[in-house]
Symmetry: C2
Subunit: 192 residues, 2 copies
């Protein structure tokens, strides 16, 4: 067992879990006539903050084109899983939010129960797992050019002053729950 063999092995396990996750999404989505991409878009929209609840963000998050995201979002709207409203400040942008039905469907399907249980069974090791996965995630994001889509607490724009927490990029205050959502403007600190 040469040390060199561990890097590919960890990737292999990750790749396999990734396939299994997609298979679960396919299976769960099939019951209600949806594809994996629909569940993934719902998942993202359920976690996106107010700067990130748009079709363009969905496209960036999933790594597909805006056109593809647009057509998939249309399906979600037609089924009333997602609501759309025009942004009052910028008439071009479409703001998306989960409907009650969308939220219910999402809670039923993601995370798949088998994943939830398997991670819960790790006990306190789940924390270690997450820490290592976050390290891999940051490494990948640093060199793949895309957006990082993290939460405010891990963002270089996040600031704390006398009046509370706020986003240094927009200057707007952030409530604690808001600061737990994903942001398309998120940037990892340089030495994270």
């Amino acid at each position: 067992m040469i040390d060199d063999s561990l890097t590919p092995r960890a990737f292999e396990t990750l790749e396999r879990l990734s396939n299994l996750l997609r298979a679960q999404e396919r299976e769960g989505g099939a019951e209600v006539g949806l594809h994996p991409v629909h569940l993934q878009a719902l998942w993202f929209l359920g976690r996106a903050n107010r700067y990130s609840d748009t079709p363009a963000s969905v496209a960036d998050y999933l790594g597909i084109t805006r056109g593809a995201a647009s057509t998939s979002i249309r399906v979600l709207r037609e089924r009333d899983l997602v609501h759309e409203r025009r942004d009052p400040d910028d008439g071009r942008v479409s703001r998306l939010s989960l409907s009650d039905a969308g939220r219910a469907l999402l809670a039923r399907e993601l995370p798949p129960r088998v994943f939830e249980n398997a991670i819960a069974a790790l006990g306190s090791d789940a924390e270690t797992l997450n820490r290592l996965l976050v390290q891999v995630l940051r490494g990948v994001q640093r060199h793949s050019g895309g957006r990082s889509f993290g939460i405010c607490g891990s963002c270089s724009h996040f600031t704390v002053d006398a009046s509370g927490t706020r986003c240094g990029l927009t200057g707007e205050p952030l409530s604690p729950p808001e600061a737990e959502l994903l942001c398309r403007e998120h940037e990892d600190p340089v030495n994270g």
Copy 2:
């Protein structure tokens, strides 16, 4: 920070890495006119042992139907990335192997360089990461009904006797390299 919040967090990171991996596969495949599923099938066929190099195994591994696997494999054959030969003992089964071109393409695309580097950057923690991911993987497989697709060393059928290592299911001897490949008959030990 309640302990309970760690399970969803680890899943969230895993889910994000999964999207990023797919995005990388999409990007890399697009350069040569292939879809993510094609790269994934190549990846599996490059790792499958002699009991598992068939269209049905590809379908099981990827969690798609046999029909879908069949059409994707046809694309790979038409591009001479994969060779097919009939099984001499069972005229129904089709045995698939990577061509030199397929092997070269696969080596170029998977693992994506950014993943490879990010995991390598973990150093010795890559081993811990893999151990935890394997635990999650087994937990998921135990309860999701599918095949586990592990290697012989982690299989309950694997036996060692005076003449060397062999598979207890087929009774056939296994060379050390063969025992490192993925098997569709793989079964996790009951208390793994």
